[in-house]
């Protein structure tokens, strides 16, 4: 173990001090671990309780693990719809944004044209401005297009937000790729389109997968776009569905807890599966109008 050395003490004392140090470190880490993870766990457990059991104690386990709240939330409270809607919105956003970002990032990174800098600068604006800057006219635009309160009202703006970041992200990655790779493929007779999909993209999966995970989580967790641009219960995504569900059942905490757990679960699974992409995405200094 690597521990900061305490100077000029007898080995015995320094070992004791180190041990105390390690215990103190674990103590602090555990406090943060408990305050972060336990709330989610207790909510998940609360979903299995009756209202009476819940009042009796927050940290106790239920006598009988009731699946009723979960089943009712999933079926009667329509969380099955909400889940389906979240998938229907997120999948096309991720796929289309990915393809469009790869294309535009490629052009900005490796092609020479007059408006390169200007257009890229305008794209950057899309990363910097917060949603509040365009949410109001966006609503009226979607109304005028007859798209208000449809899946498109969520999908199209989400693609627009995603491609701004995606263009910036892919441009950075493609620009850093070795020129030899591109030059060699040009010699082999590939045109610009083939260079992109046959040479660059297969070598860019690290960047692309990170980008897709970010697109996914932004869309999956989105609240404001869905809140403003949809009104039917049948179109609500998981976060929006949960918010309205909470409003309807304020007194029934086990029921709400079951709903919240259903919403949290896909996020936790995706996060655990794609941890590396999450970390990479967050730590690459991403600024995004989320």
């Amino acid at each position: 173990m690597k521990i900061a050395t305490t100077k000029s003490l007898s080995p015995f004392y320094s070992r004791i001090l180190n041990l105390i140090g390690i215990l103190a470190v674990y103590f602090i880490l555990l406090i943060f671990f408990i305050t972060t993870v336990v709330p989610f766990l207790t909510i998940a457990v609360a979903g299995f309780k009756t209202s009476i059991e819940l009042v009796q104690g927050a940290f106790t386990l239920p006598k009988l693990w009731l699946f009723e709240n979960y089943i009712n939330a999933w079926q009667q409270a329509h969380f099955n719809w909400y889940f389906r809607n979240s998938v229907i919105v997120a999948v096309p956003v991720v796929v289309i944004s990915m393809i469009l970002s790869i294309m535009s990032g490629y052009a900005f990174a490796l092609m020479k044209f007059n408006l390169n800098k200007l257009l890229f600068g305008i794209f950057l604006l899309g990363i910097m401005v917060p949603q509040e800057a365009y949410i109001i006219p966006l609503y009226y635009l979607l109304v005028d297009l007859g798209l208000n309160d449809t899946y498109f009202a969520m999908i199209l703006p989400q693609i627009a937000m995603s491609v701004c970041f995606g263009t910036f992200w892919m441009r950075g990655f493609f620009a850093a790729m070795p020129r030899d790779l591109i030059d060699a493929s040009r010699v082999d007779g590939c045109n610009v389109w083939q260079v992109l999909w046959k040479v660059l993209v297969p070598n860019a999966w690290v960047a692309i997968s990170t980008m897709c995970v970010l697109f996914f989580i932004w869309t999956w967790n989105d609240f404001m776009i869905a809140l403003v641009n949809t009104s039917s219960d049948t179109l609500r995504t998981l976060p929006l569905g949960l918010a309205f569900f909470q409003g309807r059942h304020t007194a029934n905490v086990p029921f709400i807890s079951a709903g919240a757990t259903i919403v949290a679960l896909p996020t936790i699974i995706v996060y655990l599966l794609f941890q590396r992409q999450f970390t990479r995405g967050v730590t690459s200094g991403t600024l995004h109008g989320q």
């Binding site: 050395t5 709330p39 009042v55 044209f113 701004c164 995606g166 040009r186 909470q246 905490v253 807890s257």
Partner: protein, 302 residues
């Protein structure tokens, strides 16, 4: 450069329309659903408009009214006060945790690292449900724990209490943001040259000294990214307030985004809401520009 590279470059140069075709689809989405609406927000802000009536041009009246609007001013002040909970506390906590986690081969290090980030990844609505329950005055874990420890006098209605609601919401924000800062800083630490720590140890520096003189300078760019991102988060917070207090009690936790939403979509003062959006966006852009420029200047000054 060899010959083939030259011809490659020339070919790209000659086909002039190609780059525009590659950019067009992405640009159209951006143009229609972001750029045009942004410009329209600016235009709306000079009109009186309910959303379905005729627009009436009113010049800068909406902006003049903003300066006298107590709710807006309280909201703006709250946004600024939230910086303490969104930016300063999370960054300090994250720096301490970085120091604890990064220099040791602790058992379970990754478990800690992964779990600390969880609250940031979660949809804000879930966070809201979790904390409304924790703060529940009657049977929430916080109050029941306080009561069982004989501290019943400290049990408060938290989110419904005029003097405590703001802090109660702020704590949620800190809880959400610290894991983000930590993840950022932990990645930065990996870049720091190990020999700097060795040199500090030879000089007999303790851990506190190492944190201040090796770790923090080493992750300065990560710290400035955390600063900008969390600043922006504080200035535009919406979901968190919407799912916990909706600005209450009274207007204790009102923020500009919520006031914008209320004006635009609930009381049909669209032009006025647009003026709020313009002011809020201007503040956010100015602050991010200032912070980014400053940090860039610092790095160049090295």
């Amino acid at each position: 450069m060899n010959v083939s590279a030259q011809t490659g470059a020339n070919k790209i140069h000659r086909i002039n329309i190609t780059p525009y075709l590659f950019i067009l689809p992405a640009f159209l989405f951006f143009f229609i659903f972001i750029l045009l609406p942004v410009l329209n927000t600016f235009r709306y802000s000079f009109f009186d408009w309910t959303g379905f009536s005729d627009e009436v041009f009113v010049g800068i009246k909406n902006y003049q009214e903003l300066l006298k609007d107590q709710t807006f001013l309280t909201g703006l002040l709250n946004n600024l006060k939230f910086i303490l909970f969104f930016t300063f506390l999370p960054i300090i906590i994250a720096l301490v945790l970085t120091a604890l986690l990064s220099r040791r081969n602790l058992w379970g290090r990754n478990i800690f690292r992964v779990s600390f980030f969880l609250s940031y990844v979660m949809p804000m609505v879930v966070v809201g449900v979790v904390w409304r329950w924790i703060y529940n005055p009657v049977f929430g874990p916080l109050n029941t724990s306080l009561k069982s420890m004989g501290l019943a006098s400290l049990a408060k209605p938290w989110l419904g209490d005029f003097s405590l609601a703001f802090i109660a919401v702020g704590i949620i924000a800190t809880w959400v943001q610290y894991g983000y800062c930590l993840t950022l800083f932990m990645a930065g630490v990996q870049r720091i040259d190990e020999s700097l720590y060795d040199a500090a140890k030879v000089d007999g520096a303790n851990e506190w000294y190492q944190l201040l003189h090796v770790t923090i300078p080493g992750i300065r760019s990560e710290i400035s990214v955390a600063l900008v991102t969390t600043f922006i988060a504080a200035l535009r917070v919406f979901d968190l307030i919407f799912v916990t207090t909706r600005g209450g009690p009274g207007s204790e936790t009102i923020v500009t985004s919520l006031w914008l939403y209320t004006n635009a979509f609930q009381i049909n003062r669209v032009g006025y809401a647009a003026a709020i959006a313009v002011v809020q966006t201007a503040i956010i852009l100015l602050i991010s520009y200032f912070l980014l420029n400053r940090s860039r200047g610092q790095e160049e000054g090295d």
